[in-house]
């Protein structure tokens, strides 16, 4: 019983960072109706810049965190300019393929920065664990959860209390109507890319501070976790992304404990497939348009 509760709580804590990654994917999908495959690579390049500073100059943790955020935002803007702004709105596939080749490009730059296989990443705390009764929590996990809750709260305020948030929501509802209302869609797209890169930077930083190391597979890893969490919750749905992230974290924690390490990733894919078969739109997503609805729209 204690194991079960401990695993669930651990899963929720680690899942909160998956939730942040999924939020990044889902906002871009909501605004653009396109998939940004370069999101994971964006975070990876930012993290590599931070690690590079750590390895070469031993700067303090705060500067590393700031460097990571700044470079992810810059990279995010670069991706938007090259893969999304430049390509025609109806060519969603062209954008997806372009964002994938950008992924390869960003990875190449990161590997040029730090060519070895693994590098140490500075952890946040020297304290190892917090004990509450029979349970044990890693300080990094608690920070992860706190930061994620803060980020989601801030995002909620931004989306529902500011003009930019209103514009972003209007655009994901109906891009054409939004532009008729005088919303500068290009600017909203750019700002939302900067925003999700910031969110991704925070997620990347907390994950790396927990793992205490970085490898060239980090981009691939963040992409998969974010995509799966987003799909579980439903594409384009913000609460869905958070729920999907937490669920993925919990399932991974349990399968790792009860079945072993090699089943951790497999169980995530089985979960995703099961959800897609049972509820194709994801848990909280808008239901996939049924044929009748499609026909109605056309009339």
């Amino acid at each position: 019983m204690i194991d079960f509760v401990q695993n669930t709580v651990d899963g929720i804590m680690f899942g909160s960072s998956y939730a942040l990654l999924a939020v990044g994917f889902t906002i871009i999908f909501g605004v653009m109706r396109r998939l940004n495959l370069a999101f994971g690579a964006t975070i990876m390049l930012g993290a590599y810049v931070g690690t590079w500073l750590h390895v070469n100059y031993q700067v303090n943790v705060l500067i590393i965190a700031l460097a990571i955020l700044a470079s992810t935002v810059l990279t995010g803007v670069y991706v938007e300019r090259l893969c999304f702004r430049a390509i025609r709105r109806d060519a969603a596939l062209a954008s997806m393929v372009s964002s994938f080749v950008i992924w390869m490009q960003l990875e190449e730059v990161a590997i040029h920065l730090l060519p070895e296989r693994t590098y140490p990443f500075p952890s946040l705390f020297v304290v190892d664990a917090i004990e509450v009764g029979a349970f044990l929590f890693r300080a990094e996990h608690v920070t992860m959860l706190v930061l994620a809750v803060a980020m989601v709260g801030a995002l909620h305020l931004l989306l529902h209390r500011t003009r930019f948030g209103l514009a972003l929501r209007a655009m994901s509802e109906n891009p054409r109507a939004a532009s008729y209302m005088g919303i500068d869609t290009g600017r909203v797209m750019l700002c939302s890319f900067a925003l999700v890169s910031l969110v991704g930077g925070v997620a990347g930083y907390t994950i790396l501070a927990t793992d205490e190391q970085i490898t060239p597979f980090f981009g691939l890893w963040t992409t998969f976790k974010g995509l799966i969490a987003m799909m579980l919750g439903g594409m384009g749905s913000l609460p869905g992304a958070i729920l999907g992230g937490l669920m993925l974290g919990v399932v991974e924690a349990h399968s790792q404990w009860y079945l072993g390490n090699e089943y951790k990733d497999l169980s995530a894919y089985i979960l995703l497939f099961a959800i897609l078969v049972l509820r194709p739109g994801g848990l909280m997503g808008r239901r996939i348009l049924s044929r009748e609805e499609l026909a109605y729209r056309r009339v």
Binding site: A91, V109, F224
Partner: protein
């Protein structure tokens, strides 16, 4: 010379991979599961020639059938999701297959060595061609026989009722359904055919490379598979071939002199191509210009 023959073989195999995604894209489905089917074909055909010691042709055929069977199974649940959801669902399938082969260990002693897939160490010693004394020329011809066969079959079906049905589903599902097209049957058939073609490609790959491991079949390969038809355009099977030659022949080989910086330039060139021609290098207008240039397009003449 052997090096260039290897490149020609690789172009042939990647063309098969691209065509397997092409037939799906005709029906409007975008699948990143082709790497998974490719992997199933590669491992099955390899296991059949190495452990069961079958000749190459039945091994390839059975491997492709197994891949097609899994494509058929994936086809049904995948039908319920569409567009980008299908993309991510099929990524999950590909990764699932990759993790399966990552854990698969099936070692059989053969003479004084042990052969078969060895989980993380990969599947070595798929030496059918070497053991039977095939020359590089023969292997290349063998690969291209399959490429030409598949291309001819697809080209011909594009000019028959089959092609029209596939394209009708891709253009407008609702309209296709209202003229009596069975959507489920068409989509699952396209998925199965795609799985079969990818399975042949995978089997050929395993035998020409003699070594495969799970890292061969990542999402990178799956993206290449759909990048070929997207870059080449969907107007004809030749678009895919042109795109494979452009990417594998010109970009990957031609930019080798750039060394480590190759991927950066490679990325920029594909983005440039996508920006200039979003519907493919070999799209309908280009095809018409080419046809007119070699005097195949009769419409242009009668109009003048």
């Amino acid at each position: 010379m052997a090096y260039y023959l290897g490149l020609v073989q690789l172009i042939g195999i990647h063309t098969l991979l691209g065509l397997s995604a092409y037939i799906l894209m005709l029906t409007g489905q975008l699948s990143l599961g082709q790497a998974g089917f490719f992997a199933i074909g590669a491992y099955s055909a390899g296991i059949l020639t190495v452990i069961f010691q079958l000749p190459i042709l039945p091994a390839l055929f059975i491997g492709a059938l197994i891949a097609a069977f899994f494509a058929f199974l994936v086809g049904f649940p995948a039908l319920r999701v569409k567009g980008l959801m299908l993309v991510v669902a099929t990524i999950a399938f590909s990764e699932f297959v990759r993790l399966f082969f990552f854990n698969l260990s099936w070692r059989v002693p053969r003479g004084d060595i042990v052969v078969g897939p060895d989980s993380t160490n990969g599947f070595r010693e798929i030496r059918y061609f070497v053991a039977n004394g095939w020359s590089a020329w023969e292997i290349t011809a063998f690969v291209w026989v399959f490429v030409v066969l598949v291309m001819a079959l697809l080209w011909w079906s594009d000019r028959s009722r089959t092609g029209s049905v596939l394209r009708a589903v891709g253009e407008d599902e609702l309209a296709a359904q209202s003229v009596g097209v069975n959507l489920t049957a068409v989509k699952v058939a396209a998925m199965t055919a795609g799985g079969f073609i990818a399975g042949i490609g995978g089997g050929l790959y395993a035998h020409t490379a003699t070594y495969v491991d799970h890292l061969t079949f990542t999402v990178l390969l799956a993206t290449f598979a759909i990048a070929y038809p997207i870059l080449g355009g969907l107007s004809s099977v030749f678009g895919t071939l042109v795109a494979v030659i452009f990417i594998q022949g010109v970009l990957v080989e031609g930019l080798r002199f750039l060394g480590d910086w190759r991927n950066i330039v490679f990325g920029l060139m594909i983005i440039a191509a996508m920006n200039l021609k979003p519907s493919g290098l070999f799209d309908a207008p280009t095809a018409r210009i080419l046809k007119r240039a070699i005097g195949l397009d009769e419409r242009g003449k009668t109009g003048a």
